[in-house]
Symmetry: C2
Subunit: 196 residues, 2 copies
DNA sequence: CCAAATCCTTGACATATATCAAGACTGGTG
DNA sequence: CACCAGTCTTGATATATGTCAAGGATTTGG
């Protein structure tokens, strides 16, 4: 139950076994079916998650009530709605499992106690924040000035598991095109592959 | 010289005067003309900045060598290329002043010494990271599922100083449209305003 | 304060992507 | 195992935005 998260923390920081076990003891396990909402628009986020198995889609509803996917989270990833979690403001996003999912969860109060009491945990959190922030910047840059085909290539290069593991409709909402356009892109690529 | 940054840190954390002065003593002042590059693509970022006066544009070059602007930084904002600064990898972005600009600068080594030695500074950094990450998420969500006009409205609502202070060409590269399209949007809005 | 460079606007046209519609396919559930 | 809801594909058409071009306005630096 704790092996993935233990590895992950050890990869980030040096922590003695005692403080590591102390940290881990604050996490509880949660198992969900697919299509389970961990957080909805308007909720206050009080939990930080580490994913042991499964997949979560983070999205919001645009003005036509279509889903616009910002990100996905898979095994061995940390996940929370940072804005709502840190400032206790209502979430603007939905967090929903796409597969049956197993999570480790820590409440906000415990979390902030840990980062103030256990320096290596603060250090790990800092690194996770920096990496998450970097990742979102890459997403902005990669998607803002690319057309649909380039965005598709970008996902195939840097996040290929998204293309193999998730339904096309959801992939389309991540790439920022209609399902029809994504379908045509793929069909075009198939034809070009036959020719080449 | 230090009054803006002092206020900013005090707003975030409680720090006694001694540690605050200790922190501030690690910053040096930099004054630049407009169109000065603080960081170029390929450079390793070794500095974190606090802006006292002026404005910096962060952009990268797309495949046609057009500028795509990710963000702007103004007075009383913290700024660094987080990916390059934290991992010492080459920057993918350019940082260029748009106006004559005055900055406070701290080197990476000093910075990391401070966050490990001065807990309130670590705490301030954590809050800045969380806020910056939140901001980039809002940018992703606001721009990904909006058309050009909606993005323009969004900027007018949440970052109006961008529209009044910066040249249209640069605004267009932030909104993600060609200068011609932005010009037509504005002209359309002027007409509608006359009618209404 | 002037000249040169840059920027802004507008028109005509090209292109990418969305929308609507309909049929084929698929997988989860009773 | 079969059915049904949901998904995927493909075509026809509509729309938003890009590109190219040129003249007018504005800004910058000497």
């Amino acid at each position: 139950m704790y092996s993935l998260i233990e590895n992950d923390i050890k990869k980030l920081v040096n922590a003695n076994d005692e403080s590591l076990q102390f940290v881990l003891s604050h996490f509880r396990q949660i198992k969900t079916k697919r299509n389970h909402f961990l957080l909805k628009e308007g909720d206050i986020c009080r939990t930080c998650y580490f994913i042991n198995k499964g997949c979560v889609q983070v999205y919001y509803l645009d003005k036509n009530n279509d889903e616009a996917t910002r990100d996905f989270f898979f095994e061995a990833q940390w996940m929370t709605n940072i804005e709502s979690f840190s400032k206790q403001e209502p979430s603007k996003e939905f967090y929903r499992t796409i597969e049956p999912t197993e999570l480790l969860a820590i409440d906000r109060d415990s979390f902030f106690q840990l980062i103030s009491k256990v320096p290596p945990f603060m250090e790990a959190y800092r690194q996770i924040l920096e990496a998450s922030y970097s990742h979102s910047i890459q997403r902005i840059n990669s998607f803002n000035a690319m057309d649909a085909l380039e965005r598709f290539h970008w996902v195939r290069e840097y996040q290929p598991h998204i293309l193999t593991r998730l339904p096309s409709k959801i992939i389309a909402s991540y790439i920022g095109v209609s399902p029809e356009t994504l379908s045509r892109l793929k069909s075009k690529l198939r034809v070009e592959r036959k020719k080449g």
